[in-house]
Symmetry: C2
Subunit: 474 residues, 2 copies
Amino acid sequence: MKEQVRDITSRDVDFATWYTDVCKKADLVDYSSVKGSMIIRPYGYAIWENIQSELDKEFKRLGHQNIQMPMFIPESLLNIEKEHVEGFAPEVAWVTHGGTVPLEERLCVRPTSEVLFCDHFKKIIKSYRDLPLLYNQWCTIVRWERTTRPFLRSREILWQEGHTMHATQEEAIEETKRMLKVYEDFQRNILALPVIVGKKTEKEKFAGAETTYTIEAMMYDGVALQNGTSHYFGTGFSKAFGIEFLNKENKLENPYQTSWGVTTRMIGAIIMTHSDDRGLVLPPNIAPIKVNLIPIGNDENVLNKIKEIKNSLDNENITNNVDTSDKTPGFKFAEAEVKGYPIRLELGRRDFEEGKVTLVRRDTLEKIEVPFESIIETIKTLLGTIQDNLYNRALERRNTMLHTADTYEKFKTIASTKPGFIKINWCGDMACEEKIKDETGLKSRCILEEEEADNVCIVCGKAGKHKIYFGRQY
Amino acid sequence: MKEQVRDITSRDVDFATWYTDVCKKADLVDYSSVKGSMIIRPYGYAIWENIQSELDKEFKRLGHQNIQMPMFIPESLLNIEKEHVEGFAPEVAWVTHGGTVPLEERLCVRPTSEVLFCDHFKKIIKSYRDLPLLYNQWCTIVRWERTTRPFLRSREILWQEGHTMHATQEEAIEETKRMLKVYEDFQRNILALPVIVGKKTEKEKFAGAETTYTIEAMMYDGVALQNGTSHYFGTGFSKAFGIEFLNKENKLENPYQTSWGVTTRMIGAIIMTHSDDRGLVLPPNIAPIKVNLIPIGNDENVLNKIKEIKNSLDNENITNNVDTSDKTPGFKFAEAEVKGYPIRLELGRRDFEEGKVTLVRRDTLEKIEVPFESIIETIKTLLGTIQDNLYNRALERRNTMLHTADTYEKFKTIASTKPGFIKINWCGDMACEEKIKDETGLKSRCILEEEEADNVCIVCGKAGKHKIYFGRQY
């Protein structure tokens, strides 16, 4: 019976199949008749709603306002910034007809909205008094990916994109880093993801950006997931679009720009970091349902006690659900595990007579007997403990997969034998970066801004300029 | 100075221009380079966020779950339900290329998502235990409209669409009516719109629906705005898509379906019902900022007192903002009026010395002097008073434009001389409905379910079947 619920491939046998099994069995997603697009089912969408709610609060606290731009971009508008269009044009979806009528100019479905924001900024920015402009948009974007995977790579992606304009370079760079920090803190504290932050190389930066900062998470299998980026644009777009403001000295100047975004990909990161062969494991801080209550049998006292506990949890704003279906206890337990409820509470007739319940931690599967009078307090503490444990467990595992190579030979050996990231000294030349990629398949993850090179570049032997991580990526 | 802020066409001179002036001057929307699509600016989007938050809470309280479907529909999927495709195919946007590659099958951008939901329901519904399925989606849809107008008619529309499946016809009809009531209550109590609810005729119902219920609002100029619909589908789609469930008697049956939606059009209804020649007027229950605080001059005591009042408002969760810009008081007052803040609070040095502030109601422009000690209490009461006044004022005005015609001659006279809706007895024949439309330009608004025909049809003289409203529409 249990196996019917579960039926999940082992993650150590076939990580990719395990991942899609968990996504499907936990009712997070379903495939649709639209190739490459997925349906985010209610349980998956509830995770996204929690992500939105947490981040949106923080964006607004920092003075950002939400806005809604059109989903279409006329081809001529996309073409204004050269690097940008080269980066995105090959992977956009084109609308060519409205009803039966061919369009005069074809429209792409936004792959990102820089050009739409710039087009608007040009109209509304006149003076330094209009700055900073701190905008954000929650929407979906479309990129015509060839291979797709739930949450990680999909033709349609749910995301948020912040777009801000500033009177000075300093302020814009500060904003770029501030929002990177918002993402980092959110991922560490709420999603329990131990992430590495740094700067993308020239090769890997966003099309049109001067600098791209990135959040790099490492999945259970040692493969990197780029889990959020924050871009500093300088005045590249504002020059291309002719956006100008009168500064305090009454002179016309181009404003300085940033953009930053995270996507539903973060849900993929949660799954591939914390979950196991029994199914989903969710950090309590992001779990739509924190406690799953299972009455065993139909004893009236048991059912009443469950109701009473439910009410107490509701009063404490601890989200919960009660499984009163006619499935067997074993089936319910398995389902609770597949769904990744952080705590499962079991109560049967004998427990009731003994005045206790059993709490089962999803992260460790440990069972804890708790007397009636301390249920709520124990659950509160336990939710914090589980959250911390998930972070620390992921951190420890991640750290075992952080490698250092002081020669290119060692780099190649590690790259071909061990999963994870490899830190090296690098001269900063794209040629060396590309050589590594071509010969080993590892791409640069990020330049570490807080560490300095302490030796020559492992590839060419010239002076080292940066410490940088390389790794395989999703 | 004031006029620079305002510069709004009078609504009695040119209602259409007045409307777009208010939308623009109050910073609700801006036009984009994408023909027919608009940008919803932060202040306009904040109204939508309030609408979403209120409705979403109510949907969830009633057991609905949010879900995210793809934005594209393959042509073959759209084609499955015949009436539905005939209704929508002429007005959809078609995606034909992904990057540089022509698609094997073209995709339309969803004009509504019935077929996507049905495609999914087919996979997940097996037994009566899976029912009811109560889903909702917040998203944008695209309809290739020829003439567009902010919030009212746009190529891209923000909306929510509920889609539910039930084991019995009775339950599904109940749901259809329940959600209509949710819309009605929301529009009356939160948006202060006096609405008429009823059933659409066969001619006007949704493509594919068995019954369409509608919320009909009447704008300041007497023109109707269809402001929300709730559809009962019967088993039309579930048969077309082959959706079946095992009922309690272990027999296969097609489930019964509903869908229901409201859009950003409701923001248009707020504007065209409550606003005036000075700009926007917002009902306090939906206003993003309920109180606008204006210190007059730079007196330190004044500024400190304003801060103190702001803190008290914050503590009471009464949204507010403080205008400390270097604009003149006259400019600030005009701006407060254009933006439609329900209450403006003014405080100058002399007021401070006298221990009082001036509150200005946006709905009546009445000024009220209030001693310091009763500011918060007065504001709280006043917000309720303004909300009620807006509803009653709109109701009174609307009622003067509700007409009755007991002959077709009288109908034609009213239709050509007076704005508003005309109630008649109608035989139920589409021929009579079409005759009215062709000869007078008025379309049927809704059949009144709670009133019975009390005379013959005014057009053909046959037995009356329904009381029905006719009116011009946006």
